[in-house]
């Protein structure tokens, strides 16, 4: 008989699958990252994970697949991501469920545990955040808890990696073993009914009969549909049953039974610190009193947002430039001229951007010196086309990473979850819940995961409206456009601070999003906002390691994109800007006769109301083609500036970076400040990159809604751009804009009133 060695057996055997299951924000993804070495997005708010993700743990005798599931409070799903978790647990039969419990909220987390225990699958409990429990002076005896629950319990700190090896070793030991489900409802008034239904289900060879029996008694929608013949048994019981408090609401009765059991049996493992004065405010409470204040909460948020932008973009850090004198840090005549400031001190973000610019200039000069004897067009393609385009984008990496890191700190500390609550008061008036704000905030990083996160919203209209406005929250890819044009305005016109312009544009995006939602919810998507119930996480200090991992991950993806999509785009742009329609090669000075220029000039008149159309001179088409290339990836806008500006070759102060190249385009085209602001707004609000469009398509309930979404993006960006250009160029046009807006509002009110009257009359007639 053939014998198998260990390696052969490993190939034949299916790898073991462990599922991470727990309440939202209990640290599942942190544990997942810790076990698998992944860099999945984590955040200190419930609902970060909306889809399952898999990774490998290699420290067990054989490689184990770890599946991270969206957080759930119970196994009865209410939102799309909760369905994902339930379906996985029941249908894909993991070899072991690692139930992660937030030890600081023991009772509430054990509610889910009592449901998981009813499934016939090995379970192990990971008592997470045990370090925080210790810090508060409380103690949880894991051994006592293990004895009471009857499944292994391991205390861990996923963030610090403590106890995770023991957890995995014990999980591996029990994985694949047979375990019969157990319910804590044995003492409940419904225990006989549950047992009878379970026996009936077992007789039908149904897997996990106890779990299904409890859910069927609860009248869970999925179970009722699947086991209709057994409903008679439950209805018979109901007809003879009456509880003093819950009546025949079995769902409530079962929930009550679970909590009573937890409180009586499991909570004894927790010993509270006797010295803790419960009436005294905790640190989190004290901070909340300031940051979530009814009146000051929103101004505080705007101030924090401004501080972040000031730290990342300002060229007059802390506004102390005038006090220090003009040439204090400008280092004239050196390679670092202007890096640390010119007329003011640069913010950390601006200094990093300056250093990157120096590096890119060295690289460009180095490559140019190597190509001295090459044909002019080869030098042009490699230096102006490719390096010009790439350096324009890459020079913004430090600022993008710094901004994302600061946003991530706000998220990790738990502040962003608070902002959702503050904004709930405002958003609710317009038919959106504060929950919708969380995916919008994610949109500051990237629209793709943000749109996917809208699955946490239970209402379809709310989900569609949120997906539509997510691109208005400028993502990292749009940052180069904002920074390059803001910097270009400062450099060309000598006015304003780049950070104030950038910050204002972010606020314009947020305001446009709110107005757009108001418009949708009062016209085509009427309906009340779903109730917003979210557990406020405790304030936590962000972990240095996770911040660095996030930055590394973002940098890696940004560079990958720069050297694939953007690099390919710059090559194409250079070629189509250096060939005429009759395929003749054109010199830089003849670019106005190129295929690209021809295409740009053709649609240029369309953008006249936005200020970058026919009113610009012969180079005006550059702005049009930049906006079009931005539809592939938003970084392409600045990359196109870089490629084309390097070819125009006018004298402009600065090196090989997006700001100098944008300033060159501004000078060459004769564009005005209002038109530039309108250009930023148009690019921020219009159709996002291809990846985001594909995601929006997937998240929309049907094709019709997706098509309307595209129309919505185009129209909104066009209108906002036009308003900015008109009001910026001729201030008195604000009155025309306000009059038109008043007419629209009046029209909506009249239409809604008429619709109400019509509805009322119809009802009356029917009666």
């Amino acid at each position: 008989m053939k014998s198998f060695d260990k390696n052969e057996l490993m190939i034949i055997a299916k790898p073991k699958k462990f599922a991470l299951v727990g309440n939202p924000n209990c640290g599942k993804t942190t544990l997942f990252n810790n076990l698998t070495g992944s860099t999945a997005h984590t955040g200190n708010w419930p609902g970060v994970t909306v889809d399952r993700r898999e990774g490998e743990y290699k420290k067990c005798p054989e490689t184990v697949t770890i599946v991270d599931l969206p957080g759930i409070y119970s196994l009865s799903p209410y939102t799309p991501e909760e369905v994902v978790s339930r379906n996985f647990i029941l249908d894909e039969k993991p070899d072991c469920i690692i139930n992660i419990i937030d030890a600081t909220n023991l009772e509430r987390n054990l509610y889910l545990t009592t449901q998981i225990m009813e499934i016939d699958v090995p379970v192990i409990i990971a008592l997470n955040m045990i370090d925080e429990v210790k810090k508060s002076g409380d103690t949880i005896d894991a051994a006592v808890l293990e004895k009471k629950i009857g499944v292994p319990v391991v205390a861990i700190s996923a963030l610090k990696g403590e106890g995770t090896t023991e957890l995995m070793d014990r999980a591996y030991e029990i994985a694949g073993q047979k375990r019969d489900g157990f319910t804590v409802l044995e003492q409940s008034k419904l225990s006989h009914l549950i047992n009878d239904v379970a026996i009936a289900l077992k007789g039908q060879d149904i897997e996990n009969p106890l779990f299904h029996a409890v859910k069927l008694v609860e009248s869970d929608e999925l179970e009722v549909a699947a086991h209709k013949p057994l409903l008679g048994m439950i209805d018979n019981f109901k007809s003879t049953f009456q509880d003093d408090i819950f009546g025949v609401d079995f769902e409530a009765l079962i929930a009550d039974g679970r909590y009573k059991y937890i409180s009586k049996n499991y909570s004894t493992a927790l010993t509270r610190n006797s010295k803790t004065d419960k009436s005294k405010l905790t640190k989190s409470d004290k901070i909340d009193r300031v940051l979530t204040h009814r009146i000051w909460g929103i101004p505080m948020f705007l101030l924090i947002l401004f501080a972040i932008f000031h730290l990342v973009f300002s060229e007059n850090f802390l506004f102390i430039g005038a006090a220090l004198g003009k040439d204090w840090v400008s280092l004239p005549g050196t390679a670092f001229e202007g890096v640390f400031g010119a007329g003011g001190i640069n913010s950390p973000g601006a200094i990093l951007q300056g250093l990157m610019e120096v590096l890119m200039t060295w690289i460009t000069d180095g490559v140019a010196s190597l190509l001295v004897n090459s044909p002019a067009w080869v030098t042009g393609l490699l230096c102006d086309g490719i390096l010009g385009g790439l350096s324009a984008v890459l020079s913004f990496i430090p600022q993008i990473l710094l901004l994302l890191m600061l946003f991530s700190i706000l998220e990790d500390t738990g502040y962003m979850a608070r902002v959702a609550f503050i904004l709930d008061r405002i958003l609710r008036r317009f038919g959106l819940s504060g929950r919708a704000f969380m995916p919008m905030i994610m949109g500051f990083g990237c629209s793709v995961p943000a749109m996917i996160n809208t699955r946490t919203l239970a209402d379809e209209n709310e989900r569609v409206a949120t997906v539509r406005v997510i691109p208005f929250f400028s993502c990292g890819a749009k940052l180069p456009i904002l920074t390059a044009i803001s910097g270009g305005i400062v450099m060309s016109f000598g006015i304003g601070n780049a950070d104030i312009i950038t910050y204002s544009m972010y606020v314009v995006g947020i305001v446009t999003a709110i107005l757009a939602v108001v418009l949708m919810k009062t016209t085509t998507m009427k309906g009340d906002a779903a109730p917003f119930i979210m557990e406020l996480p405790n304030y936590r200090l962000p972990q240095f390691k996770s911040l660095m991992l996030l930055m590394w991950d973002k940098a890696k993806h940004f560079i990958q994109k720069a050297f694939t999509i953007i690099l390919a785009s710059t090559i194409i742009i250079w070629f189509v800007s250096h060939f005429s329609f009759d395929w003749k090669f054109l010199e830089d000075s003849q670019m106005n006769n190129s295929i690209l220029a021809g295409f740009g000039k053709l649609i240029q008149p369309l953008f006249t109301p936005l200020g970058f159309g026919s009113q610009l001179n012969e180079w005006g088409w550059v702005f049009i083609v930049s906006a079009i290339t931005g539809l592939i990836a938003k970084e392409n806008v600045v990359a196109t500036f870089g490629t084309l500006a390097a070819c125009i070759g006018a004298n402009v102060v600065g090196g090989a970076d997006g700001i100098a190249e944008t300033a060159l385009m501004i000078q060459a085209s004769g564009i005005t400040i209002p038109a530039l602001i309108a250009f930023i707004a148009f690019n921020m609000i219009t159709i996002p990159c291809m990846a985001a469009v594909a995601t929006a398509k997937a998240e929309m309930p049907n094709k019709k809604k997706f098509k309307w979404t595209l129309v919505f993006w185009i129209c909104t960006s066009y209108i906002v751009g036009t308003i900015i250009y008109l009001v910026g160029s001729w201030w008195w046009t604000i009155f025309i804009v306000l009059a038109v807006m008043a007419l629209v509002v009046a029209g909506i009110i009249i239409y809604n009133t008429k619709a109400k009257i019509f509805k009322f009359k119809n009802k009356k007639d029917k009666k």
Binding site: W377, Q560, I571, A691
Partner: protein, 65 residues
């Protein structure tokens, strides 16, 4: 035409085609090319989960009505 010119032209064309193929494959796999590293919700697994979830929500909504 110099050798370097031929090399640059061939490399440029191959690179652009390569990126287009790479982007197409990523799209087929349901992975995004936006650089955030997340799936863009178009893979079979996501589509299935979304479909199930929508049906579930529809039922829940009907139930609540």
């Amino acid at each position: 035409m110099q050798a370097i010119e031929i090399v640059v032209i061939i490399c440029s064309i191959l690179f652009v085609i390569g990126v287009a193929v790479w982007a197409f494959i990523r799209k087929k796999q349901g992975k995004s090319t936006c650089g955030c590293g997340e799936c863009n919700g178009n893979c079979e697994k996501c589509k299935q989960a979304l479909k199930q979830a929508r049906e579930q929500i529809k039922k829940d909504n009907e139930k609540s009505i």
